[in-house]
């Protein structure tokens, strides 16, 4: 194995793999991706993987998410079946007071081209008959959907490998430094150098950034999810707390807790989640839970993506965010433009790490 590369990507989650795949598709050579464990061990493998847009705010962030969602069909044609389904997304509400809030959301999102319908109780029940008759209404948008995150990361990785990207797994990075115009990456399996360094360490970004004296303000947030046994088709849409997979399992969860890097499942959250499931979809009360899991999500200080060049360190890039599944097609595209052409086709200034300085 060689030791000098054009580009080294630190982190093999959905973002690192998407960037590797997009860069390699643009014929960049000499790419090495370093992953501390194996892809899907961390955040990207423990998610419901909604491709979710319509409630994303501020509106400019909703717009950014929409562009990414719209890239999915084209991405899937290139990298292969990732079980992307534009199911449409429903965010149910249970009181009339919420309707005003829903209308305000629909109005402000319309300004950036995200179409949201505010549904009456009868309309939402006609579209999603399994929902509780107690529902008061819902916001609905066609733009939302979901994807199989395991397939997605695997297909990014396979495509990247097909185009020559090299991978090192179970290879924790122990030190990073910039020396004479190139980055020196010290890792468990050896020392490598590269002209470009891209930090895609998600929830581990703080730790990785520190090695280069860069503050990447991202903290872990735990999300717990219940999985049911495979059920007959029950849900038609991606609902803002659950979705049904192709093989019939329903994934349910909307918890977020500050629990550091602890990935335990806890009974109180499982009970809350079960209760929410039965409240939203009464028929689920009879479904068996076969497993729960817990993922730690990357949460930037202001909850928005951290994307682009790192000011003051030439050829250093960062791409770390919440909602990496939704954003990965666009982030892969834009980061590739930035690295190969020096600029992006749509502005990403708002997401610059410079905003934290």
């Amino acid at each position: 194995m060689r030791s000098e590369y054009e580009t080294i990507i630190v982190g093999g989650g959905v973002i690192g793999n998407s960037i590797a795949c997009h860069l390699a598709e643009k014929r960049q050579e000499g790419i090495l991706l370093i992953e501390q464990k194996y892809p899907l061990t961390g955040t990207s493998g423990s998610t419901q993987a909604w491709v979710w847009v319509h409630t994303k705010t501020p509106a400019y962030y909703g717009e950014f998410s929409m562009y990414s969602s719209e890239l999915y069909p084209y991405l899937e044609r290139r990298i292969g079946d990732v079980e992307f389904h534009r199911t449409g997304g429903l965010a149910p509400f249970f009181s009339e007071a919420e309707r005003e809030r829903a209308k305000r959301l629909a109005e402000s999102q319309a300004e950036v081209g995200i179409e949201i319908q505010v549904l009456t109780r009868d309309e939402v029940l006609a579209m999603e008959p399994a929902l509780s008759p107690e529902v008061a209404g819902a916001t609905f948008s066609r733009i939302d959907g979901n994807v199989n995150p395991l397939r997605l990361v695997e297909m990014y990785m396979r495509t990247a490998k097909k185009h020559g990207v090299e991978y090192l797994y179970y290879n924790r990075v122990t030190n990073l430094e910039k020396r004479q115009g190139s980055f020196v990456v010290q890792s468990k399996k050896g020392r490598f150098t590269a002209k470009n360094l891209i930090l895609c360490a998600g929830v581990w970004s703080r730790e990785v950034g520190k090695m280069l004296g860069v503050n990447i303000p991202i903290d872990p947030v735990r999300g717990q999810i219940l999985i049911t046994e495979p059920l007959a088709p029950l849900l038609n849409h991606t609902i803002s707390s659950m979705r049904q997979t192709l093989n019939g399992e329903v994934l349910i969860g909307y918890s977020h807790e500050r629990a550091g890097f602890d990935r335990s499942s806890t009974l109180d959250i499982m009970q809350n989640t079960a209760s929410m499931a039965a409240r939203y979809v009464p028929a689920l009360a009879r479904a068996h839970v076969v497993r729960c899991f817990s993922g730690i999500r990357a949460m930037p200080e202001d909850e928005l993506p951290i994307l682009g060049k790192v000011p003051g360190v030439e050829h250093l890039y960062v791409a770390a965010m919440h909602s990496g599944i939704t954003l990965s097609p666009l982030v892969g595209t834009l980061m590739t433009e930035l690295i190969t052409e020096g600029d992006t086709s749509i502005p990403i200034d708002r997401y610059s790490i410079a905003r934290f300085a």
Partner: protein, 117 residues
Amino acid sequence: MDTSTILCRCEEITAEEIQLALQQGAESFDDVKRLTRCGMGQCQAKICRIPVSQYIADCRTIHVSTVPLPRLRMPLRPIPIGVLAARMDSALAENALLAEAEQHQGSKAEGGEAGEK
């Protein structure tokens, strides 16, 4: 063992599929699980854990004791959602998605990306 032998009965995963995952760089049961769905079915690896771990060890020519155990999670046997939910006050069990969306809308005044082009 034939490569068509099914090692995970719930998801019908064969030895060959596990081999392919190992060729992709997977090392542990959980790595293989995420690529193949082996162990993700009804039994949650209670039946396939030993044969699959042994097979991984054989393919990688290491001892089975060094193949990390798959992560076990609650519940240990399937349990109805209604039973888990029984103690909770369901009226509180709503997510606050729309409220959160509104909270973040605050910075909207800065204008959208479309305006910057």
